[in-house]
Symmetry: C2
């Protein structure tokens, strides 16, 4: 009953749902304005940023579809559009040629680097809010996102630090870290990229 | 820099921005599933619920466009689609015939009533989170939405209760309440509808 204003009055979950819902509208609007300025659609921007920040062997079409909560078909369409614009390359994965990996072209790298400021208007807006309020907001949001993640509504991709599968500095050399899930050694650079399988050690 | 995972580590505003952004993705996905089940697009559902819950003389196309953060052109298209399905009627406002008011047809009333559960999956998810966490989340979200509202990124439509313009029970009769902004008397029913001009007395 989140859309019935009189039901909301005595129902905190409904009030918060409505607040979150309003926020999605506002964020959609804010990012749309920034996207228009950048000359890409929001979903194209998400694709470029996904390729920029995801560990290269995890940058698949399937993971992109999950990351933005869309169907595989939609994800493929977006990616193909960016392949045509020569911003993204597709390549078969060495270990498993059925899997397609996405890579930014050098032009794509440039485009993505320029998009690093995308979302800035939201960040700027938060800077006007007192630290203390932000701290409790962050805790609350963390709980909601954990619940959403558990239900499979959202993918929380993060770097290796803080992941239960991460064994930092397991050996010497250029790939010192080890991931117990992927069962591979990782370079420092790879460990700093986003991983869709990141499993936070907090709250476990 | 909200999309750069390593920048986020030491930047709370960026982390919260990312959390909010992830949440918009999850909510989009959750409401999409519910919309598919209802046989309408999410924006059609928002239009029907807007007509159901907004005070009749404020249910204009312009207010609907603002409410969902879209352009007038898009809003008109959605409304016209629902007019064709005979779920919504358009009528010129008595006081100002240039303004078009939106009304649910009796069929539209039925359709909208069935949509009252839309958003339920989000509300259900919040019910799994401890009361205390929800309380601080609500406070934090309130601050963010107030800031978004100030920047014009979101419309917070609420009933008259708690509005600085509201003079409840200003006289006897069927329209006992008075609104100092619209400068009109209001029935009890009208005062319980959502008003896009609601100005919260909290935080003023
Ligand atoms: S599962 Fe964890 S340790 Fe393994 S690559 Fe992903 S984030 Fe790193
Ligand atoms: S401005 Fe305030 S008092 Fe007037 S109709 Fe809107 S909510 Fe009610």
């Amino acid at each position: 009953m989140i859309f019935d204003p009189n039901q909301r009055q005595n129902n905190r979950s409904a009030r918060i749902s409505m607040a979150l819902f309003r926020m999605t509208q506002a964020i959609k609007k804010m990012t749309q304005l920034e996207s228009d300025a950048a000359g890409f659609t929001p979903i194209q921007i998400q694709a470029l940023l996904f390729c920029l920040h995801t560990r290269s062997d995890a940058a698949t079409v399937g993971n992109f579809a999950h990351a933005i909560g869309t169907t595989h078909v939609t994800a493929v369409k977006v990616i193909n559009g960016l392949v045509q614009k020569e911003l993204i390359n597709k390549a078969a994965k060495l270990e498993d040629r059925r899997v397609t990996l996405l890579q930014l072209t050098s032009e794509g790298q440039l485009a993505a680097a320029k998009l690093e400021q995308w979302g800035q208007s939201l960040e700027d807006l938060l800077l006007t809010i007192p630290e203390e309020t932000l701290a409790s907001l962050e805790l609350g949001l963390g709980s909601v996102i954990a619940a959403m993640q558990q239900e499979g509504h959202v993918v929380v991709a993060e770097p290796c630090l803080g992941c239960i599968h991460f064994h930092p500095n397991a050996r010497e050399g250029s790939e010192p870290h080890y991931c117990g899930l992927v069962q591979k050694h990782l370079s420092n650079e790879a460990s700093l990229k986003e991983c869709p399988e990141h499993t936070s050690s907090e709250g476990v």
